[in-house]
């Protein structure tokens, strides 16, 4: 089975600014993939190129094994970062229109529109205009627009932004169902908790370059072995003397030790066991947030260029 989306050495520049540089991506069919990165990292540009809205300067993009183009566009449901709905158009008409644009016959598009409005608890608003809806409702409507043509691939840019917890969980429920149906979902977000909860694999990009890519569990495992948490009773000073420890943070009921390397962990246990009373020893799996922050910070310090600093830094 071909990959749902594949990018090979894709580059895109806007004038002097390199938005995306030599990007390789491989999104397996049926996976939920997170495209993560800080603002301005090239996520939206990458997605627009996948959507065939922008042309890459170099490189190749394949959708379901075929070069990206007009026809492949129709295989993807796209929810852009900012809401794009006709303010003065009625909600069901709007759904029908966008469905038709994705090759769904009008009557069928209308029927499916009604289904999704009901599913997303918007049925009462079917004959209202979009500018009468709250932001959260508009977001749900945009989600319905994305799903209407029932495409095998979904690209969702900041899906849960602007949703209250109740609606966010309603949307997640739908997403899990879609994953169950075998759809490929590409998530673009800078909200790590969303990615953590839903994604199988992630790709972290900054300044148009890929920093990390792969299975989420493996990435976490790779990052995780350098911090241990110890709950203990006894003299805290021993912790400072333990071998292979870079940094010790003492809290009320526990301590966190940053190790020089993952291999140091057994060493630390051997050293501490006779000296303090260890109640709990845990190798911490870092949150995606931490991975994000460390990786991006590391990349920025190694590639810091003055002209790319934000305006307030000058």
């Amino acid at each position: 089975m071909p990959n749902a989306i594949q990018l090979h050495q894709v580059c895109k520049a806007y004038g002097e600014t390199q938005a995306v540089a030599n990007l390789d991506l491989c999104i397996a069919a049926g996976s939920v993939y997170g495209l993560l990165g800080p603002n301005g990292s090239g996520k939206t540009t990458t997605i627009r190129m996948i959507m065939n809205i922008l042309m890459p300067d170099q490189g190749e993009i394949q959708i379901l094994g075929r070069p990206a183009g007009r026809k492949e566009q129709d295989q993807i449901g796209y929810l852009p970062e900012e809401r794009g709905l006709y303010a003065k158009m009625k909600i069901l008409d709007q759904l029908t229109y966008f469905g038709e644009l994705k090759n769904v016959p009008r009557a069928e598009a209308r029927r499916r529109g009604q289904y999704w409005l009901q599913r997303l608890e918007l049925s009462d608003w079917a004959d209202k205009k979009v500018n009468e809806l709250s932001k959260g409702m508009q977001q749900k409507l945009q989600f319905a627009v994305t799903l209407l043509a029932d495409p095998p691939i979904l690209i969702l840019d900041e899906l849960t932004s602007g949703l209250d917890p109740v609606n966010a969980s309603l949307v997640r429920e739908v997403l899990l169902e879609l994953r169950g149906q075998g759809k490929t979902i590409l998530f673009s977000t800078h909200r790590m908790e969303d990615a953590e909860r839903l994604c199988d694999s992630i790709c972290l990009i900054a300044r148009g370059r890929k920093l990390l890519d792969g299975d989420l569990q493996q990435i976490r495992a790779g990052f995780g072995k350098q911090t241990v948490r110890i709950e203990f009773t006894g003299e805290a000073q021993w912790l400072h003397q333990a071998p292979g420890v870079r940094k010790t943070d003492l809290y009320d009921s526990y301590a966190e030790l940053q190790l020089q390397s993952a291999e140091a962990a057994p060493e630390v246990v051997r050293f501490l066991a006779p000296r303090v009373n260890i109640r709990k020893f845990e190798i911490l799996v870092p949150s995606l947030d931490e991975i994000f922050l460390t990786t991006v910070a590391a990349a920025q310090s190694s590639a810091a260029r003055p002209e790319r600093e934000p305006a307030y830094a000058r």
Binding site: P80, G84, L101, V145
Partner: protein, 417 residues
């Protein structure tokens, strides 16, 4: 035609035609047409019933009777009439005149006429000396009565005078292929109405295209739509869809003009008989000029819509385009006064002016077919060139955020791709 283009056209058309504004504006025009008929009737005979009361101080002593007989006979503005009152000059000219002026000021009279003893000097005092119609009648009546008096004094027999002093009236006729036809400004008015109509229809729908594109851009709708159709389809669909809505409205309006003309031919009302007859060919050409003119301007407006990023920009960006269109309206009178002059022909061949000015010429005179054909060909060529440029600007501009591009930047866009 590609299916997706049709879907876009359908949305644009229905969204427009179903709006309240469309209905109101469609109905507004027939009111304008009613105004036109009112104008036609007013120039032949109209106005409210009125008496022009004029005090006459006749120092010659024998002019009042013939003058009042003559003036009171004249009926003008349907039911208006002169009413003359003789003022005795007891106590000298100066006090009598002062009394008359006071009376005019107090609105006892509309005017005061003072005739000197030797008939050499006639003075007219009035609050309003700009009513040329009244002044003209007064002038000709006083003139002919005095001339008559002078001729009588010179010894000509009274019975010959009536014939000799027969007034001469200049009548205007418009020469057309269907023969000469009396015209008192109706052609002028109709040419003005139709040319302005083209202008209004083009500007309204052109600016709608710009607003629609700007809405899709600033509302980020473009990104959703462009995930399903290519930019050119979206631009073309908007232009054609809104153009079709414009055409619907324009056709209704032209229908009104046609009805008026048809009615005027059957009507027994003499005034309405003066409405110029436009053949079906002229109507067809009006529609063709609307379509081409709209395409020309709407494409420019679409490009303008794609480069603006907020409401404030809109005014500034549309200005150059709108100015060209307005300029063509400003030129209507110049073309109308001599529709076949070299200047008029030249102006009406320029693609940007043709939709308005050729229509002026079509209504006011009979431009040769080659001139019509040439202007259509030039407009078509203009449209092809402009669509090409506009599509480039549109494709880049529609997804661009941030500030409006400068002119050099725009030129770079045009060179790229």
């Amino acid at each position: 035609m590609p299916v997706k283009l049709l879907i876009v056209i359908r949305r644009e058309y229905l969204q427009r035609v179903r709006s309240k504004g469309f209905l109101i504006f469609t109905l507004l025009f027939p009111l304008l047409m009613a105004g036109y008929i009112a104008f036609i009737i007013s120039i032949s005979h109209s106005g409210s019933r009125q008496q022009y009361r004029i005090a006459v101080l006749d120092e010659s002593g024998h002019l009042f009777a013939p003058l009042s007989a003559r003036l009171e006979k004249i009926k003008f503005h349907q039911n208006s009439q002169f009413l003359l009152t003789s003022i005795p000059d007891t106590g000298g000219t100066a006090p009598a005149l002062a009394g008359m002026v006071t009376a005019v000021l107090r609105k006892h009279f509309d005017g005061a006429l003072v005739i000197s003893p030797g008939l050499r000097r006639v003075r007219y005092y009035a609050r309003d000396v700009t009513n040329f119609y009244v002044l003209g009648k007064l002038q000709s009546a006083v003139g002919s009565v005095i001339q008559r008096q002078r001729l009588l004094a010179a010894g000509l027999p009274a019975r010959k005078l009536a014939k000799l002093l027969q007034p001469v009236n200049l009548r205007q006729y418009k020469v057309t292929r269907n023969g000469a036809k009396a015209d008192q400004g109706q052609t002028f008015a109709l040419a003005y109405v139709l040319s302005t109509l083209l202008y209004i229809a083009i500007i309204i729908y052109g600016i709608s295209v710009m607003r629609g594109v700007a809405e899709e851009k600033t509302g980020r709708i473009a990104e959703v739509v462009l995930a399903a159709v290519d930019p050119f389809t979206l631009m073309l669909g908007k232009i054609i869809g809104l153009g079709a809505a414009g055409l619907t409205q324009f056709a209704v309006w032209l229908g009104c003009v046609g009805l008026v003309i048809g009615y005027s031919r059957m009507s027994s009302n003499a005034a309405l008989q003066h409405i110029p007859h436009l053949g079906p060919a002229v109507f067809l050409l009006l529609i063709v000029y609307f379509i081409l003119g709209f395409l020309l301007y709407a494409t420019l407006y679409a490009a303008a819509g794609a480069i603006i990023s907020n409401e404030q920009d809109m005014q500034q960006t549309q200005m150059p385009i709108t100015l060209i269109l307005v300029l063509s309206v400003i030129l209507i009178p110049a073309v109308l006064t001599s529709p076949a002059s070299f200047k008029a022909v030249l102006l009406s061949e320029i693609p940007f002016f043709a939709p308005v000015l050729m229509v002026t010429r079509l209504t006011a005179s009979h431009p040769p077919s080659w001139q019509i054909g040439l202007s259509l060909a030039l407009m078509l060529a203009g449209i092809v060139v402009i669509i090409r440029f506009a599509a480039k600007v549109y494709r880049i501009g529609i997804l661009m955020t941030g500030k409006r591009p400068t002119l050099p930047e725009l030129l770079r866009w045009l060179k790229a791709a």
